[in-house]
């Protein structure tokens, strides 16, 4: 009986260890997954959004977040080239460079985005969106976690079309009050 109990405890312990490893692995590879983006284009105007654009916006915004999370985690500003331009790229590049100088990096666990189209310019050359993002943010100094908090963040986003994708031109967090 005691042997069976011992095996049972061992099995439970082993299962717990495997779960912990799995959780750690999931966290480590979070930025390798494309974040979930739910897109609402019901209220966008004055230009009516095209079918293809309404498919590309959430896809490209999700890929932008993925590359941003990777750039900030791996301290690689070059990753920002694919989906960022203008002030957004400039600001994030500065952020990564100052992280490198400070010996720091951040890790996001992205729990998804609710993206809403607000303004689509008559010429179709810019779109303003609001994003409500749910994230877990860990800030590292070297290998040590100095901050670990869930965040419910709101962003104002400007996206402009590039050759084959929409690019994030401005990504600005706003405080809780409705902008």
């Amino acid at each position: 009986m005691s042997v069976a109990l011992r095996y049972c405890v061992l099995a439970v312990g082993l299962a717990g260890l495997l779960c912990a490893i799995a959780v750690l692995h999931l966290r480590a590879s979070a930025s390798d997954e494309v974040p979930r983006v739910q897109f609402n284009a019901k209220n966008v105007g004055p230009r009516a959004i095209e079918d293809l654009t309404s498919q590309h916006i959430p896809r490209d915004y999700a890929l932008a977040w993925q590359t941003m999370e990777q750039a900030l985690e791996r301290n690689r500003p070059d990753l920002l080239d694919a989906y960022f331009t203008g002030f957004a790229k400039e600001d994030l590049t500065k952020r990564v460079r100052s992280q490198i100088r400070a010996g720091m990096h951040v890790r996001y666990q992205d729990r998804g985005h609710h993206l809403e189209g607000i303004f689509y310019a008559p010429a179709g050359d810019v779109m303003e969106l609001h994003d409500r993002a749910q994230l877990d943010l860990q800030i590292y100094d070297g290998g040590k976690v100095i901050y670990d908090e869930p965040i419910d963040a709101q962003y104002v986003v400007l996206m402009t079309p590039g050759a084959d994708r929409w690019l994030v031109r401005k990504l600005q967090a706003v405080s809780g009050e409705k902008p």
């Binding site: 952020r95 100052s98 008559p122």
Partner: protein, 283 residues
């Protein structure tokens, strides 16, 4: 005594946990310096993580930590962290945009036919001096400054940092300036208003040694503006040999071509969606 000991331990733990606490203002304005009160004692490391910067420096816990306005230029969420020997404490805060003082104006298209109803769109993005979008601001003043006419202006409300307007191009060709202004900032774009489609396309023909020299009257739009050189006029000739079409660009206001034919022929011309008169020649 037995009852007070756990309380004292809790108090000590709370004091220890709060050793690295920070108290930044809940909200501040971009570009303004702030002072962050800290509690605790001894050497500590202060971190400030913002949208475009990361600061890390050694400080004395328990003192006020000064942060330059240069380190708070970007509007958005910041996290201030203080790590001492007994752990880290943190506090997020928001930096809001400063007053609106920049406008970024997008005007489309840069060339527009005259008389295009709502053919021009002007979109103004409102920023502060530090390139932060200002979501709430006074209206933007849009102005139209024709080359030889008086200025017309109108205010448009700003919603989510954007004000926009649709405009109809003038009846007369030429450049016009479209401006947007807020506070001390303004931006101007130039739009070239060009002749619209040809109107009342007329052709005439004269026999020459190789056939018929067919020529248009000066090609103008319905407002009387000359259609730009380079616009294509298609001449079509039908004769006993069949039907042939030649595309000819307008040069110096007219399009002309010699069409080889010896017998009777019908000649017509078209430009865009406009067709001209038909000629019957020869015979």
């Amino acid at each position: 005594m037995r009852k007070t000991t756990p309380f004292l331990i809790l108090m000590a733990a709370a004091w220890s946990a709060g050793a690295a606490d920070l108290h930044p203002p809940a909200q501040t304005t971009a570009g303004n310096p702030i002072s962050i009160a800290s509690s605790g004692a001894g050497d500590a490391t202060f971190y400030l993580i913002g949208p475009a910067s990361v600061i890390k420096r050694q400080v004395k816990a328990g003192t006020d930590i000064a942060v330059d306005g240069d380190d708070l230029q970007n509007s958005g969420r910041y996290v201030a962290i203080l790590c001492g020997s007994d752990g880290c404490g943190s506090s997020p805060f928001f930096v809001t945009p400063a007053a609106p003082n920049r406008v970024s104006l997008q005007v489309h298209p840069s060339r527009v036919p005259v008389g295009s109803v709502n053919g021009i769109s002007a979109v103004a993005f409102v920023f502060d001096n530090l390139h932060n979008l200002v979501l709430k601001s006074p209206p933007v003043k849009f102005s139209i400054l024709p080359k030889d006419g008086r200025e017309v202006s109108a205010d448009r409300p700003v919603e989510n940092a954007i004000a926009w307007v649709r405009l109809t191009s003038a009846r007369k060709e030429g450049t016009t300036k479209i401006g947007a202004a807020i506070g001390h900032a303004d931006e101007v774009r130039v739009v070239e208003q060009v002749a619209a489609e040809a109107c009342n396309l007329r052709i005439h023909a004269n026999r020459d040694k190789n056939g018929f020299l067919v020529e248009t009257d000066p090609v103008r739009d319905c407002s009387g503006n000359p259609v730009p050189d380079g616009t294509v006029v298609s001449f079509t000739m039908s004769d006993s040999a069949g039907k042939s079409t030649v595309d000819v660009p307008i040069k110096r206001g007219v399009a002309k071509i010699t069409m080889p034919s010896k017998g009777r022929a019908r000649i017509s011309a078209a430009s865009g969606v406009v067709t001209g008169n038909e000629l019957e020649v020869g015979g």
